[in-house]
Symmetry: C2
Subunit: 247 residues, 2 copies
């Protein structure tokens, strides 16, 4: 076996931040639109429906000389064991020879990538001057969605946070989120970059919890969801004309 590079979550956190993720995801979308990316079929398997599953996503970026795969598993009972419920890895391969090149932890990159994609969608598709951002869901993925949106949506003036299962979770989320955004996202951005300036500025706006989802939806210009729920939480009658949804 040839030598491969192994990047664990600590190394990735040091070298790949939300600004990098936004740049990479935007580039990937452009390459995809230019038909320079091929996605292979997704494999999905439920070990225990609603409680444990895994998927394998894979594809090739010929222009970059690589192809790769990511396996991510979700075992909801991990939380009882104080383990991350999402675990997995990425493997990259040479497009010239098929040789494995690198093994990367999958969880942190997945959080950054998914957050980056949600924010990018809103940046290009939300209406100009959007001021009210609604975040539904307060789990693992929620801070990534919020950090990405705050970096990319210049006109947001207030963030409302809902949790359909338990309002207390929304309340404790808003109590700690600014510190988490500062520590986990702002501090790893390069200073004096537009992303750093944007996120720093947005840490001054109001981030509030709201128990009444209808009320929160009715005023939202941009709605970001970060929930594995299969139940509907939003009624179409509540959605403001021109609002952007990222689900």
């Amino acid at each position: 076996m040839n030598k491969i590079r192994v990047l664990n979550s600590a190394v990735i956190a040091e070298h790949f931040n939300m600004a990098d993720a936004i740049e990479a995801v935007e580039k990937a979308y452009v390459l995809h639109a230019q038909k320079q990316v091929s996605l292979f079929d997704t494999v999905f398997y439920e070990f225990e429906p609603g409680a444990a599953d895994m998927d394998i996503k894979s594809g090739t970026v010929d222009k970059e000389g690589i192809f790769g795969m990511k396996l991510m598993s979700w075992f909801s009972k991990n939380e009882e064991k104080e383990l991350n419920s999402l675990m997995g890895n990425i493997m990259l391969y040479s497009r010239e020879t098929g040789a494995p090149i690198a093994l990367l932890d999958g969880a942190s990159i997945t959080g950054l990538r998914t957050g980056a994609a949600g924010g990018l969608g809103a940046k290009y598709l939300a209406r100009e001057g959007a001021e009210e951002l609604l975040l539904i869901g307060t789990g693992n993925q929620a801070p990534y969605q919020l950090a990405s949106a705050l970096i990319q949506l210049k006109t947001i003036r207030r963030v409302t946070v809902c949790n359909a299962l338990n309002f207390d979770w929304a309340r404790s989320f808003v109590e700690t989120i600014k510190k988490r955004l500062e520590k986990d996202f702002l501090s790893v951005l390069d200073q004096d970059t537009p992303a750093y300036e944007a996120l720093k500025e947005k840490l001054a706006i109001d981030i509030v919890a709201e128990e009444d989802i209808e009320k929160a939806v009715r005023r939202a210009d941009v709605i970001l969801t970060a929930t594995p729920s299969k139940e509907a939480m939003i009624r179409k009658e509540w959605v403001k004309k021109g609002a952007h949804l990222s689900c």
Copy 2:
């Protein structure tokens, strides 16, 4: 990221021989028949049809507490670069938590597994007393097929080797194969085991090259193919009644 075990091809060669592979593959087939194994969908992608492709195979063995995936690529032009045309890796994960457990080189295990499976099929399905073994193909996979068959088929008295593209390749294969079987397969088996005794004994039988495939097929009791060819090489009229084919 939790700690994972990395097993490269040298470590695997030291700890996993053809007898181990036969035992493991037989166990997997039994578990599959008992519906204790689930196979996920296979992903297949051709980078250049007929010249470069890759596949991802995956599945779970709940009883063993693991699930896993294997990505193997085939880049035919690697041979010009003196690289293995088959490269790839296996990743294993905990069935309890989804955590990655181990990264293994894929090429050597694939050779052993494929060889083990061909021999097992012949062991259980070929007619009793089969004496004439035919091996079609003389590439990477051929020694694995032959080693496995010689360990498992007690009554074989002669091996005939064909190569449909070039008879010289069959001739040079038979010139060196006994030394290769001894070095790569016999020497890594535990002495005084049935597998060791069986393979050692079989190294005394005739292994001959044959240019005329029809003649070779007509006398064969067991036909093992080890070729990526999509062209037919064997006509059904040539196949002896009761002959076993492994393709």
